[in-house]
């Protein structure tokens, strides 16, 4: 089954083929479950003009935020941004474009992109700035807007464990956007805490089947916590 062995040995190999002006879909929510090594690799490569699709854009100095330092990002498609000063500054300077998308619509756009559904109707955003310019259609007397799907040249994903065939599982709420991102990349790169042999993961409990995955790379993770709150 050598043709199904997706494991690569370096982040250089994992991100090979990434070029200026490409679209990259990134898993993660806040700083939870983000593909730290792939992001670092993009920074190292210096790729410019990127469109990044991710619920958030990290913080100053961590997560996707580090791609702002050398102005590698042309456009963010996100539901919530501005946890970082650099982001705010580049946005106000007009150096960065932002397409704000409701969180559930964003998740569904990625899922639809991976599933070959070019567009779907949702009530989310009807009558708001999000709905402006979009097709409206009534179903059962309620108006809905048409939202188009998203696919990327690359998807960068963080999983807990993957086997050599690319079957992945996620840990706790680090799952978040990762499974949809994994389906929506022309090339999907999954970085993992642990690589296991095929057969280790229960076939019925695989979150991302290997068919969606092109490259698997073992990573090391800082797992920075954005809001550490404890019980009193």
């Amino acid at each position: 089954m050598s043709g199904f062995d997706k494991v690569v040995s370096s982040f250089d190999a994992a991100m090979e083929g990434l070029e200026d002006n490409m679209t990259v879909i990134a898993g993660g929510f806040g700083l939870c479950g983000i593909p730290e090594g792939s992001i670092a690799q993009i920074k190292k490569m210096g790729t410019k003009g990127l469109t990044i699709v991710s619920n958030n854009c990290g913080v100053d100095g961590f997560g996707l935020g580090i791609l702002l330092e050398d102005k590698q990002v042309k456009k963010m498609i996100s539901s919530y941004v501005g946890e970082n000063a650099l982001f705010e500054q580049q946005l106000l300077n007009g150096e960065l474009e932002v397409e704000l998308t409701p969180q559930g619509t964003l998740a569904e756009k990625m899922r639809a992109g991976g599933a070959g559904i070019p567009a779907f109707y949702t009530a989310t955003g009807y009558g708001t700035p999000v709905g402006e310019g979009k097709e409206v259609k009534e179903f059962n007397g309620r108006p809905y807007i048409l939202e188009e799907s998203i696919t990327g040249d690359f998807a960068i994903v963080k999983a807990w464990k993957a086997d050599r065939y690319g079957n992945c599982i996620y840990r706790h709420t680090a799952q978040n956007f990762n499974p949809m991102a994994a389906t929506a990349g022309k090339i999907t790169v999954v970085e993992v805490e642990e690589i296991v042999e095929p057969g280790t993961l229960d076939p019925a409990h695989i979150h991302t089947p290997g068919i969606y995955v092109d490259r698997v790379i073992p990573g090391t993770f800082e797992k920075r916590i954005e809001r550490r709150v404890t019980a009193k």
Partner: protein
């Protein structure tokens, strides 16, 4: 007297029924989890992908992979389930969440809500708010009745960009409980010691007062 934040949260919690699945926004809504009445259980949904959110963790329990929609470290209760954000919003959009409680800048008599964007100020995004107001069966808005300058947040028509249209049915402020229907705010309860006149004066949109309006009671 106007209610405190915790008192608003207490009053919100009185709305819950046993077995409700509830999504609580950041701020006052989150506090409501502390005041769920005796004998009532609710299960908290966190839109990043957690059903059955528990309390904040102890120092020993903290896990970077376990956070809530506010990006805070959190725990899961026994019987929780964890899933993708697409699945999470399928629940929300599909109307499976019984209650959503969230804050707002403005609400109007047609049930429109503005809660995410103030033109001229830096816009951070709507997060899941638009999905939540479009999807939940019952939405409760919690906020102060007026802003710090005394301007009413209960309007005839929202002035800020909207989060959702025709979706708000219940509002709980520091002064009152109101139902939104038929193009008006219907006053249902007053905060203890707050007069109908004061509420009337601080409500810019059409307010309907039917009969004697009872004071809220707290157990």
């Amino acid at each position: 007297m106007a209610l405190t934040r915790d008192q608003i949260a207490m009053r919100v919690a009185q709305e819950f029924q046993d077995g409700n699945y509830v999504n609580l926004g950041i701020g006052i809504p989150t506090l409501a989890a502390n005041y769920v009445p005796q004998g009532i259980s609710v299960m908290l949904q966190s839109e990043n992908g957690l059903l059955g959110m528990g309390p904040y963790p102890t120092e020993d329990e903290i896990d970077a992979d376990m956070i809530n929609a506010g990006k805070e470290t959190v725990t899961a209760i026994t019987g929780a389930s964890i899933f993708s954000s697409a699945e999470s919003f399928a629940m929300i959009r599909g109307g499976h969440v019984d209650f959503t409680v969230l804050g707002a800048f403005e609400v109007d008599v047609n049930g429109n809500i503005a809660s995410w964007m103030i033109p001229g100020k830096l816009i951070k995004g709507m997060g899941g708010a638009m999905d939540l107001v479009a999807g939940a069966k019952n939405i409760i808005v919690t906020m102060t009745h007026a802003d710090k300058h005394g301007n009413s947040k209960l309007l005839q028509e929202c002035t800020l960009p909207l989060t959702g249209v025709n979706c708000i049915t219940r509002i709980i402020t520091d002064l009152a409980v109101m139902e939104v229907k038929d193009g008006a705010f219907y006053l249902r309860e007053r905060a203890p010691g707050v007069s109908v006149e004061e509420i009337q004066q601080k409500t810019a949109g059409k307010l309907v007062v039917e009969g004697d309006v009872p004071e809220m009671t707290f157990a």
